[in-house]
């Protein structure tokens, strides 16, 4: 730790600047990065894993791994994408491990989530239906759909995060959209093709 290396909370620093400060010994600056990406990536982990406990555990683990490997972040300005890659990898591992465990659907069973959404009760059935359809997607399709249409990443960014090729990712998104549409409009289980 470098004494007096603290950063004024009122100063909005870039990811790259914060990574540099952390690498110079001010671990407290890492809290700024945690706060910056916490909520958005918690949402991604929750949609990937289907329950809040696993999602928070995966996210916490990703942040800690990110800190311990920060010197391996070759493009500090893209810390967010780099961390998302760690989180996506962690979600894949956790998703495989928990494959046999029943996913819990957030709108029906996660009271905290429902409260946090602050959403009219009549939409909960729709929300549950959406989450149920999302849960039925193959993990790679779910990941691609979320990165593209929820996190709004470009395909090139998705390739960096997932390690998959752009063509493969486009196909995953296409199939995910087809299955989601079919499940949401026709109510069918839409087995994987």
């Amino acid at each position: 730790m470098v004494p007096d290396a603290g950063v004024s909370p009122s100063v909005e620093l870039s990811d790259g600047a914060l990574v540099d400060i952390v690498l110079k010994g001010d671990s407290e600056a890492y809290a700024r990065l945690v706060a910056r990406y916490r909520d958005r990536y918690a949402r991604f982990a929750l949609h990937m894993l289907g329950n809040r406990e696993d999602a928070e555990e995966a996210l916490q683990d990703a942040f800690v791994r990110g800190y311990r490997s920060l010197h391996r972040c070759t493009e500090p300005a893209r810390f967010g994408s780099w961390l998302l890659a760690i989180l996506a990898n962690r979600c894949r591992t956790a998703g495989g491990r928990n494959a046999r465990r029943e996913r819990r659907f957030v709108s029906a069973e996660d009271r905290h989530y429902a409260i946090a959404l602050d959403h009219p009760a009549e939409t909960s059935a729709l929300r549950e239906e959406i989450n149920r359809a999302l849960a039925r997607l193959d993990a790679d399709q779910r990941e691609a759909f979320l990165l593209k249409h929820v996190e709004d990443l470009e395909y090139e960014q998705m390739a960096v995060v997932t390690g998959a090729g752009v063509s493969a990712l486009k196909m995953r998104v296409k199939r995910a959209c087809e299955r989601m549409r079919r499940m949401l409009t026709e109510g069918e289980d839409a087995p994987a093709r």
């Binding site: 730790m1 809290a31 945690v34 311990r68 989530y113 486009k170």
Partner: protein, 198 residues
């Protein structure tokens, strides 16, 4: 309107999918104070462990080495360093872990050596120290740019690498390489034998 690739679906043109995406984009708020505290606790716990590990590594200790083992280790180490000096341009980096002794607990004491004459710091990172670049700094010899450290390592297969000047990640060119399991970067593999194993 945005043009779509032929393999790309267009949820913005599809009310059902757009509604689904909109629902999924709704913000999720978690208990920020609790979550942040848990993360930073882990971060600080690693830092505390770091101090302990450095203290452990710098504490004077007696290493018992049989003359034959010491001679063999010294020869291998010297050959490795000489080879690296011929092979690498600046910054010259080389390592050769050599089991030369065992600690009182029975863990083999492994010596790692580098030639990095232009480096200002060299650190050993591996699964045995949580890949923490601050946990195991190498010490520079007075001349020759040779860096070294001795680390007690549990028997088994381990992955490791070196960090030069705090930023440059280097696998050990003298050891078998293993693909990075988490981050896609190559690491080196080291197998430490059980005590008594040949």
């Amino acid at each position: 309107m945005r043009q779509h690739d032929e393999t790309e679906a267009a949820p913005n043109e599809d009310d059902v999918l757009e509604r689904a995406a909109e629902e999924l984009r709704r913000p999720l708020r978690i208990d920020a104070a609790l979550f942040d505290a848990r993360v930073m606790d882990e971060v600080h716990r690693g830092s505390t462990g770091l101090r302990d590990r450095i203290a452990q590594l710098t504490r004077p200790r007696t290493i018992r080495v049989s003359p034959l083992t010491a001679l063999a280790a010294a020869l291998v180490f010297a050959v490795a360093i000489a080879g690296s000096a011929l092979y690498f341009s600046a910054p010259r980096v080389h390592a050769m872990p050599t089991d030369i002794a065992r600690t009182a607990s029975g863990s083999p004491l492994v010596q790692f050596g580098f030639v990095a004459p232009h480096a200002s710091s060299v650190a050993l990172v591996g699964d045995f120290n949580n890949w923490d670049p601050k946990a195991t700094p190498l010490r520079a010899a007075s001349t020759g740019g040779v860096w070294s450290v001795e680390v007690p390592i549990q028997p088994g297969r381990h992955l490791y690498a070196f960090v030069v000047d705090g930023t440059v990640w280097r696998p050990d060119p003298a050891a078998p390489q293993a693909s990075g399991e988490d981050y896609g970067e190559p690491n080196s593999a080291l197998t430490v034998a059980e005590p008594g194993a040949q």
